[in-house]
Each structure stands twice: as C-alpha cells, then as structure tokens.
Subunit: 121 residues, 2 copies
Amino acid sequence: MTKVAIVLFAHGARDPAWALPAQRVAEAVRRLRPEAMVSLAFLELMAPGLAEAVDAAAAAGAQVMRIVPLFLAQGGHLKRDVPALIEAARARHPGCRIELLEAVGEDAGVVRAMAAYAAGA
Amino acid sequence: MTKVAIVLFAHGARDPAWALPAQRVAEAVRRLRPEAMVSLAFLELMAPGLAEAVDAAAAAGAQVMRIVPLFLAQGGHLKRDVPALIEAARARHPGCRIELLEAVGEDAGVVRAMAAYAAGA
C-alpha cells in the first residue's frame, strides 16, 4: 500500500498555545486517516519547518505527501515562498510525490463551517 | 427586533485576491442570517480597519456586534492588539454591545472541516 504523509502547514507564532488548533486538526486527521502519517510544520517561529517535516516524512518511507496549508487564503508566503520550498523538497526526494494543496480557506466545507460559527448557527 | 452586526475580521494582505475566502464567508453568513448586517474588517494592509467597520455598523444602527476573527488561532495580534481596539470601540459606542468571539480555528466545526479537507475526505 502506498505510504501517505499529510503535513499540516501553519504560520507559527511566539506563543506555544497558538499551535493548539493545528494540533486538534492533526488529531482529527489521524482519526480520519489512521493509515497515514500526519505531522505539523510551520512557516516561522515554531518548529519543525516545512523542509524538516518533509525530510522526516520521506525518511519514514512516505511515497506521497499532501502538504495542507492551514491558512485562510493564499498570501505572499503561499504564493512565493512555499512553492520554492516545495520545489526544493521535490529535488531532495525525487521518489516521493509531493502535492501542495490550496489553503484550507479555499475549501467550500471550511468556508461553510466558518460561516456557521460566525452566524452563531 | 435587535439589530445585529456580524463583523468578520481577517488579517489582510497586499494581494486583493487574498480577501476572496473572507468574502465567501461573508456571503454564506448573509444567507444564514439575512436579518443581520454582515461586513468585513482587516487588521492591516486592507480596508476597512476594525474601528472603521465597527463605527459604520454603529452608524447603521447595530445594537449588538459579533466580531469574528478569521484566524487559525489567537496569536499576538488577537491577544494584545485586538482587545485594545475592542475596548476603544466600546467606549465610542456605549449603547452597543460589542462581543469578541474566539478565532474561527478554535471552533470544533471548523477544526472538523479543516481535517476533512486535509484528509481528502
């Protein structure tokens, strides 16, 4: 069976508590995909970085990686910096298929859930 | 009937396209709460700012305002800068009840939706 890694990629912040929602997402993904390796990575201020998380998943045998940006939208980081990180990761791990998804905020289900919360529904 | 305003508060970015997911959330909230005034506000790089959006909602007759941070988690902005903005807004509009919700990423439904997207479910 193809070994799949799902890397949740968040911005990062100084306060360790900032990562709690991302950790809750990781736990929920593990319940949905118990066969997949699920990990977190951060753009800045928190560890591991994206390169480190990708290398760890490759070392653990991942053949396919889904990089999932936990961002509301595609800002400058996701449009400029992250594609370069992904290209570098692909060059380091040519045997691994590395997919960069759109930001979670682009997903219709996530939009619906944010709207329901905002509406108090 | 109490006039309710829902202000979706996002970070902002240089690229105008960055605001599209927030605009989709606003449209979805308008469908869920057609009686409420729904608007967007930004912390930086985009207009209007939070103070301007709150003042506009108050001028339009809002008696209750729900400020909903479209952020993954409570970072330094939400912990330090935003409470000060909210206190100043409450002082300017003493007849208006201004509620600051937790970041959308703290909501269990939003966590589930992000996890479903990440899992490819």
